[in-house]
């Protein structure tokens, strides 16, 4: 027979659930507001606010269109540029990562620990430190304000952290697999393609996604190294949507959503990879 009253402990569980869920929903409010404001003309929002059920007839995508098309804002170009820079930086990185995986599987050099410490150090140092000399160097090399320059920079940065990142992922591939293949007579290339590569695929996918997201989200390097309008990436452009004295929030919210769409989609699809990477910080070896 089901109990007809709520026991004290069921009540406590219910209360805690309620508190946490309300918190989570409250946490989401800014995003909800973002969407709400982006699909209405701003002049309406100014008057009536967005904390209400919107008038369906006034819903519009104008803000988005404006953000993307208007040459003053030109988010479309920004989007394209971000895709180019992020994609190429990640591609280069994955190739480097694959080779690093090979090194891990085969080599066991004395300085490994020192190498890791150095890499970790490099990862943590502020981006600001190397930027001034790099800028001057790029200017001399003609790499300033070019995609190549930025891609190179992101790739180099990425190789450092991916080495560290892969170490956790690849620890579990036993050396004996490679050695057994060698004993059986497989060539190094075969070993690479047939054993190491397939086993590293989850790690490589994760690396690609993390790098892509990181490069896409970057603002500082873009500000320093990409100056002309046709080269600027989306993070730069969306920040420019904010006027000095007056802010058109319809435009800004739409622009924000456009610029976060890509990392968001990646996150929804590859959710596991994102969270696993961060969660690893919490677990002791």
């Amino acid at each position: 027979m089901k109990k007809s009253f709520i026991s004290r402990r069921a009540f406590k569980t219910l209360a805690l659930n309620l508190v946490v869920w309300i918190f989570a929903l409250a946490w989401m409010l800014p995003f909800i507001g973002l969407v709400a404001v982006s699909i209405q003309p701003y002049r309406e929002v100014v008057v009536k606010g967005w904390v209400r059920v919107p008038d369906l007839s006034s819903l519009t995508l104008n803000n988005y269109i404006e953000a993307l098309r208007n040459p003053l804002y030109d988010l479309a170009t920004g989007y394209r540029n971000s895709v180019i820079v992020a994609f190429l930086s990640s591609l280069i990185l994955v190739v480097a990562a694959a080779l690093t995986a090979y090194a891990f599987a085969n080599l066991d050099f004395r300085l490994k620990a020192l190498l890791f410490a150095t890499i970790l150090f490099i990862m943590m140092v502020p981006q600001q430190l190397t930027v001034v000399p790099l800028f001057l160097l790029y200017r001399n090399l003609g790499l300033y304000n070019t995609f190549q320059g930025v891609i190179l920079l992101h790739s180099a940065w990425g190789i450092a952290w991916v080495t560290f990142f892969l170490r956790n992922y690849l620890r579990f591939i036993p050396r004996s697999l490679v050695e057994a293949a060698r004993v059986d007579g497989a060539s190094e290339i075969t070993i690479f393609y047939k054993i190491i590569l397939p086993l590293s695929i989850p790690a490589l996918i994760a690396s690609f996604i993390m790098q892509f997201t990181w490069v896409w989200n970057d603002l500082f390097y873009a500000l320093v190294f990409l100056a002309s309008r046709d080269k600027q990436v989306i993070t730069q452009k969306v920040v420019m949507l904010k006027g000095e004295f007056h802010i058109d929030w319809g435009l800004l919210t739409a622009g924000s959503i456009i610029s976060m769409s890509t990392p968001l989609i990646l996150y929804v699809v590859f959710n596991r990879y994102f969270m696993r990477g961060v969660a690893a910080w919490g677990v002791k070896r």
């Binding site: 027979m1 109990k3 026991s7 004290r8 402990r9 069921a10």
Partner: protein, 370 residues
Amino acid sequence: MTSAFLKLDRVTRRFRNVIAVDKVSLDVGKGELLVLLGPSGCGKTTTLRIIAGLETPDEGRVYIDGVDVTDMEPGDRDVSMVFQDYALYPHMSVFDNIAFPLTVRRGKLRLSRRDIEERVLKVAKMLRIEELLDRKPPQLSGGQQQRVALARALVREPKVWLMDEPLSNLDALVRMQVRAELKRLQKDLGITTVYVTHDQIEALTLADRIAVMNKGRVLQVGSPKDVYENPEHVFVATFIGAPPMNILECKATKEILECPGFSKPLPPSTRGLQGKLYVGIRPEHIEIVSISKVTKEDVVEARVYVVEPLGSEYIVNAVSGGEIVKVRTSRELLLSPGDTVYLKIDWSRASVFDFESGRSLGKLLKALVS
């Protein structure tokens, strides 16, 4: 039976579409040690957790000392539990671990720090771990950790003491020592205890009564002697006893009981059972005889499959009619696989079980006559 100190009334618990605990009713007397025995997945641990309050039953009620505790929090039930992995907190000292049940309820129980210290020392002495009080659990051996877990469970002098396979992580030797001590401890303290295990030897040695469970149901509750000699279900018969009871698929007709490899004539005046049956005979109720001793009629001819020496005795696995029959003997016979042996069955000890349900139909000879 004494009036029940701990009572389960038709407790049921489902997980998705699986019935983990199926209308289980149990009465445990004050000071009694009841063992829940069964294979993994039989529902014994879930039942224990329901008593503890870590699970809530979908149906049924739980009573402790007359109080309906079914909806109460575990902490309010005045029970104690020893977990299979001991659940000792690695960052606290042994003393703090043992004191934990007291310190978290210090206000409610109105205990001073001195009181707590006293109780912890008392219990530590009982379990002979006084020198370990300053150490931390990771520094202790398995056996020591176990004692700490026991101490912690006793420090509050609970109404019911619950144990979830506490000995399974110990080495065989340590396990036997602790088993004996545990039994003594429980008797001395007189705390009502429910003990879960899949090891039937543990059950037989420790229990005042055993509740044999399978697939969420309690098949039989009885003293170790009862459960051993009068199993009420073929499952109980085979689960208890090592090596397990021999179960033979037989067919009874008016004149003859046909079993694998042999038949036994029945007295002409029997009405009795007909059709397919399970006949059960324990390995120690079969004797190996030399052919010259008895007439051929009373004896089953079988081929040796393998002999397992156990030090003071031997388990002879013999094949009769395609089925293996295990025989226990202390005589040192020089048998090899393939040899022919003659088995004399003590039919007065044989049990018979219903073929469909597995329920016991009593001792064979009686059942046939009734």
